[in-house]
């Protein structure tokens, strides 16, 4: 409820993540208000805020003539009593809504749409990123007015930090009764990084004053980049591409990138193998089901075939394009040099994986030999890929693609692929949805060494537990739940719980 006797006070809160310059922004706003003949008061809770926590800064201001008594300002924002809410990150905008600082009768919400992910979002083995869309939807209802843009990107593009662009957005919003020049004067008075700050300020001012409605771009059909190479290979590629084009549209959509992935991993013959595997799935699939099974298979067979072995890593690490990309990302100028250090730590398992399948299998079964290999190879290696020695070594390993199909690792991966497909396809006739879910479980296998082993074991346990309920009508649902549980934490605690639930009734 807006009290007319209080209408003179403008209440502005800033919710920022530590290190975003919330203090600087608060200082500018305060100076701005005072320079425009207002009385102003700012407060903050500093303490451990700098260390990545969420922090509230709060400013109140009211017109003031010299000699008049000073207004009594509050030291903290109250729910339902905030005129301008600045959120320096998308989830902080959500937090401000939860805390009631954004209300439809009065609040102008200025939010940066970028994300600074919380640890809890980053550490889950699967996808733990919170939904910005939900926050945006709530903001549209909760706020009188929403000004949202990626003010972080805007600041970086102008060589500044987000405090400057948020100050620009505040000016552009027109929510404060002060002219643009007064804002800019406050930045100048601050005296630090003035040029960059003013540029970011200007860009954000325009973005807030004339918001261009964001056209919801449908997830652009993954852009297809051209394929090039020697004519001999191109002819064969075209033949494979024709096979993909002949697939039902939903399958081709993923078979296209899938084929690229496996050919890039090995060669064109391997690509043909991929399409053969896919053809087997397609043969038992059903147009009436929308080809869901083959659609998923196109994705996960490609991922399974392009497994992560030393050869692949060495190949990826030594490509010319990678060097270009890193130079760009690290902003290496022509006058600079770039030194690259890679961190490798091969274990006996990786080494033996490169051996011919039969020999490798024998050695792997022999603990003495494995211990010996560990002694020889198992230690951290830092390779300077900008130097000739290390580059040449990785380049040679990356060139072992011809050898790969004979290795132990390949034999293991091929066997695993076959078992998995057979298992899934075995269910198609009786429970189509279950077959789809089993195909999707391939997502659990990822990472290297211990993490890879843990993924394998989760995959096995999910399939094992699914088998227990396979005859039930809701088996597919259980399989999905098990997989999602497996992706929640590293140790598989959620998965243990889900399996215990299944055991309790099955």
């Amino acid at each position: 409820m807006a009290d007319p006797r209080l209408s003179g006070i403008i209440k502005l809160a800033i919710l920022a993540v530590g290190g975003q310059g919330g203090g600087v922004l608060t200082g500018w706003i305060e100076d701005l208000a005072r320079s425009c003949g207002y009385a102003a008061q700012a407060t903050s809770v500093a303490g451990v805020s700098q260390r990545t926590g969420a922090t509230v800064y709060y400013v109140e201001m009211a017109p003031h003539r010299t000699g008049d008594p000073t207004p009594v300002f509050s030291l903290m924002p109250a729910p339902g009593d905030v005129d301008i809410m600045i959120a320096a990150e998308m989830m902080e905008a959500g937090r401000s809504i939860i805390r009631g600082f954004v209300t439809p009768d009065r609040t102008t919400l200025i939010a940066s749409t970028h994300r600074a992910l919380a640890v809890s979002e980053k550490m889950v083995p699967g996808d733990g990123i919170a939904s910005s869309d939900e926050v945006m939807a709530a903001a549209e209802i909760a706020a009188r007015r929403v000004i949202a843009a990626d003010f972080d990107a805007l600041a970086i593009a102008n060589g500044s930090v987000i405090s400057a662009s948020l100050f620009g957005a505040l000016a552009g919003s027109g929510a404060l009764p002060f002219p643009r020049e007064a804002f800019e004067a406050a930045i100048r008075a601050g005296g630090k990084g003035v040029d960059g700050s003013l540029r970011a300020f200007g860009a954000a001012f325009d973005a807030a004053a004339n918001p261009t409605p964001e056209v919801p771009t449908a997830p652009a059909a993954a852009k297809i980049t051209p394929v090039s190479g020697p004519a001999r290979l191109m002819a064969e590629w075209d033949r494979l591409a024709t096979r993909v084009a002949a697939l039902p549209a939903p399958v081709a959509e993923l078979a296209q990138p899938g084929l690229r992935k496996v050919v890039d991993f090995q060669d064109l013959r391997y690509g043909a193998d991929y399409l053969d595997h896919l053809a087997r799935v397609l043969a038992v699939d059903d147009a009436a089901r929308g080809w869901v099974l083959s659609h998923e298979a196109a994705k996960y067979i490609a991922n399974a075939m392009a497994y992560d072995d030393i050869i692949r890593v060495a190949d990826l690490k030594t490509r010319g394009r990678r060097f270009d990309r890193i130079r760009k990302e690290m902003r290496v100028k022509d006058a600079n040099l770039l030194q690259l250090t890679e961190f490798f730590h091969p274990r006996a398992e990786e080494i033996v994986g490169l051996f011919p399948a039969k020999l490798g299998a024998r050695i792997e079964a022999d603990p003495k030999w494995m211990a010996r290999l560990d002694r020889w190879f198992n230690k951290g290696r830092r390779l300077r890929t900008d130097s000739l020695r290390a580059f040449l070594m990785l380049h040679l390993i990356g060139g072992l693609r011809g050898w790969r199909l004979r290795t132990l690792r390949h034999a293991q991966e091929r066997a695993h692929l076959a078992r998995w497909l057979e298992h899934a396809l075995g269910h198609v006739a009786t429970n189509y949805d279950l077959a789809v879910e089993i195909i999707r479980c391939r997502r659990l296998i990822k990472g290297y060494s211990d993490t890879h082993a843990r993924g394998q074991s989760k995959f096995d346990r999910v399939l094992e537990a699914t088998a227990v309920v396979a005859s039930r009508a809701d088996a597919a649902d259980w399989c999905r739940r098990l997989r999602e549980a497996a992706l929640k934490d590293e140790d598989g605690k959620a998965l243990d719980g889900a399996i215990a639930t299944i055991r309790s009734f099955a």
Partner: protein, 715 residues
């Protein structure tokens, strides 16, 4: 070198009579100390008065000009003990620390000080760390004032009132021979505003002069029978004198109309919040002119019965607004009414919540509820029958993740806890006790290390029950700040004396980092006024601990892990102590970044390291994040329809500390991390070598590329 410098602001402390100071609460307090002729100041840092210590340190030159002694005390007990100078000598002294934990540490000295009584004004400025943003257990310093009989000021939170409280505090202290505690809440420390300044005063008697003319009086010593006399003196003389001074000087304030059916009694610190609630209820104006009478307790201990009863006179009901629990003030005021046979009804925590911060909403709800019941005719119609039609806002509490504080980008403590997590993967879960300081963030995900904290410097002491050892050794963690604060005596001599079999890890980041990067005994910095560079290991050897390992580069995760493993398995009897040293990255960056940029500008050779992730090699399992938690190591979704899970990604804020690579190596994670060292101003020889290398590498790359298909999007 502290995290925040006040060198520029400190110049404002020179303002003279009739000028206007505009700035932050802590600076205003410092200015008030100078204006009131303080002779010595000291304290120990900690939120929310860390910056007050920083201001004092930065103002050391100015204070020296005025003949004022500044001590950065070893801990709060030392700070409080320093006030002994005011026991015999007519010198004003002020110390500052955080409440209530700082007061806990200082309690021995405070109790003795209060018993002896003071001659010169003694002021304890306590930063009350209560409510949102607080880093400690929620308690009140109020109880200490009551038990030891010193007076407690809780002024209205604006600069004129806070600075006046400093003046009043010294005078009250001198008038009643009692130390006075000035409580400033977390927000009023950082509130900004203006006040009219006066000239700074030299102390009437400086500590130097006092030292030339020593005094003693055994009647002041806390020994029987004098201690019994002290107690009588408190009650018979000091207390009445204090009451007289408080009343005559009108330290407490009354606002609003004389005649009203109800009134509000509040701690001074609550004033602005109460006015805001009244403003929103339509009962006060912009400048605080209120229609409901207010009795504002700028002195919350002692309370004045007569003054309170006068305020209650003619009222039906009064509401006591007292933040924190238990409700000491309310109980005392109730006693006053009962003893006076009054019929005035007293409300308080029956309407207000017993615990928790009195936020804007709490104030509005409680005061509104009180007035609705006690004096509905005072409220405007809109408040009595609100006509609200609020839209349903979607519940985001399940969507928005919590964001507790954590280690900074590049923090040298992160690899210590990554190593510890790796060791626990070998040994199983260990009994780990922690201390106070940044390292306590390890208790949170992703590390989840450390199950208890018993106080500053008490980490290893908190494991004392396990000193005898067992199947696995207990581990304790303590910071360098905690080590020098109290840890050397309370934790390490305790371990040594009791022949502890435990392991202690001292996290040495060269500063009292959690409180804002102040220098301590073992800091590596040159400090013109403090003795630094005293190795922790030397202190440990000095108390007879022989199994000590110094790790000079905590980022070497493998070595950290090996040393921890050794400490847990060695046959050596007695305490096993690891000193893990690397500089706080926040401070290091602040110091080195400008130097580095200057070096690049000057054309000197500089290597700038940063880490990156090959997104094609990363499989999105996030094992690296579970061993790091670095803010610059995040995840991002790829524009690849074949990938389900986001992959790791390192942003611009990376400082190249090396933890990612070390962890990937020590934990045998994936090979997707790389370090890119950008060499600025390379030597001509380097440039030539690089040219040759890149020519050969380029030739090999194009040769291979010519024999395979190239997909534009592949790397």
């Amino acid at each position: 070198m502290a995290e925040r410098s006040f060198k520029a602001e400190v110049e404002h402390l020179r303002l003279g009579a009739g000028e206007t100071f505009t700035g932050e609460g802590i600076l205003a307090i410092t200015k008030a100390l100078l204006e009131n002729g303080v002779g010595y100041v000291g304290g120990y840092q900690g939120a929310p008065i860390s910056h007050l210590m920083d201001v004092l340190a930065d103002a050391e030159d100015l204070m020296a000009e005025l003949g004022i002694r500044f001590e950065a005390n070893a801990n709060e007990a030392a700070a409080a003990a320093m006030l002994a100078a005011s026991v015999h000598y007519p010198i004003r002294g002020a110390v500052t620390f955080k409440g209530s934990v700082g007061v806990n540490v200082a309690s021995d000295a405070l109790a003795n000080l209060a018993s002896s009584g003071v001659n010169g004004g003694a002021l304890v400025i306590v930063g009350e760390d209560y409510g949102e943003g607080s880093s400690i257990m929620q308690e009140r310093s109020h109880a200490f004032a009551m038990k030891s009989q010193f007076w407690l000021l809780d002024p209205r939170p604006n600069l004129p009132c806070i600075t006046k409280a400093v003046k009043d505090g010294f005078e009250l202290s001198e008038a009643s021979n009692t130390p006075v505690m000035l409580m400033v809440r977390i927000r009023s420390c950082h509130v900004t505003g203006s006040f009219e300044t006066r000239d700074n005063q030299r102390p009437k008697l400086s500590v130097k002069d006092a030292l030339s003319n020593p005094q003693s009086d055994f009647a002041r010593v806390v020994l029987p029978p004098m201690s019994y006399l002290h107690e009588q003196d408190k009650i018979k003389n000091r207390w009445p004198n204090a009451e007289k001074f408080i009343r005559e000087r009108a330290l407490n304030e009354v606002f609003g109309p004389k005649q009203a059916p109800v009134g509000l009694v509040l701690q001074g610190g609550m004033y602005n919040g109460v006015i805001r609630a009244l403003q929103r209820l339509g009962l006060a104006d912009l400048h605080g002119k209120t229609e409901v009478p207010l009795y504002v307790l700028n002195v919350t201990y002692p309370l004045l019965s007569s003054e309170f009863l006068e305020f209650c006179d003619g009222k039906d009901q009064v509401l006591v607004i007292e933040e924190g629990q238990p409700e000491f003030i309310e109980q005392q005021l109730t006693t006053f009414l009962y003893r006076a046979g009054s019929t005035v009804r007293l409300r308080g925590k029956d309407i207000f919540p017993m615990a928790g911060e009195y936020t804007g909403q709490v104030m509005l709800d409680a005061i509104g509820a009180f007035l609705k019941a006690a004096a509905p005719q005072m409220l405007p119609a809109t408040v009595r029958a609100p006509n609200e039609d609020r839209p349903q806002i979607p519940d985001l509490t399940k969507t928005v993740p919590i964001r507790p504080p954590g280690f900074c980008t590049g923090c040298p403590e992160r690899p210590i806890f990554a190593a510890m997590k790796l060791v626990q993967q070998e040994t199983g879960k260990l009994q780990i006790s922690a201390d106070i300081g940044c390292h306590l963030f390890a208790a949170l995900p992703p590390f989840e290390i450390g199950g208890a904290t018993m106080g500053y410097g008490l980490g290893p002491a908190a494991n004392a029950a396990f000193d005898g050892g067992g199947e696995r050794r207990p581990v304790s963690i303590i910071g360098d700040g905690g080590f020098w604060h109290n840890g050397l005596s309370s934790s390490f001599t305790n371990m040594a004396f009791n022949k502890s079999d435990g392991v202690a890890v001292i996290v040495d980041n060269y500063y009292s980092a959690a409180t804002g990067g102040q220098d301590i005994m073992s800091s590596r910095a040159d400090n013109p006024t403090k003795a630094t560079k005293h190795p922790i290991t030397k202190a440990l050897k000095g108390i007879g601990i022989d199994w000590v390992r110094q790790v000079d580069n905590t980022y070497d995760v493998g070595r950290m892990r090996d040393v921890l493993r050794e400490a847990l398995t060695t046959d050596t009897p007695g305490p096993k102590v690891i000193v893990a040293s690397s500089e706080c990255m926040l401070n290091k960056q602040r110091r080195e970044k400008p130097l580095q940029q200057k070096a690049i500008k000057d054309g000197r050779r500089v290597e700038a390291p940063r880490f990156g992730v090959d997104e094609d090699v990363c499989t999105g399992d996030h094992a690296c994040i579970r061993l790091s938690g670095c803010p610059s190591l995040s995840v991002k979704k790829l524009d690849d329809p074949l990938r389900d899970d986001p992959v790791a990604s390192i942003d611009q804020s990376c400082v190249g500390c090396g933890n990612c690579g070390e962890v990937a190596d020590a934990a045998v994670l994936c090979p997707s991390f790389y370090r890119a060292d950008v060499v600025h101003n390379p030597t001509p020889w380097e440039v030539r070598l690089a040219r040759v290398r890149s020519r050969v590498i380029g030739w090999l790359q194009s040769r291979r590329a010519a024999h395979r298909l190239s997909f534009g999007d592949a790397p």
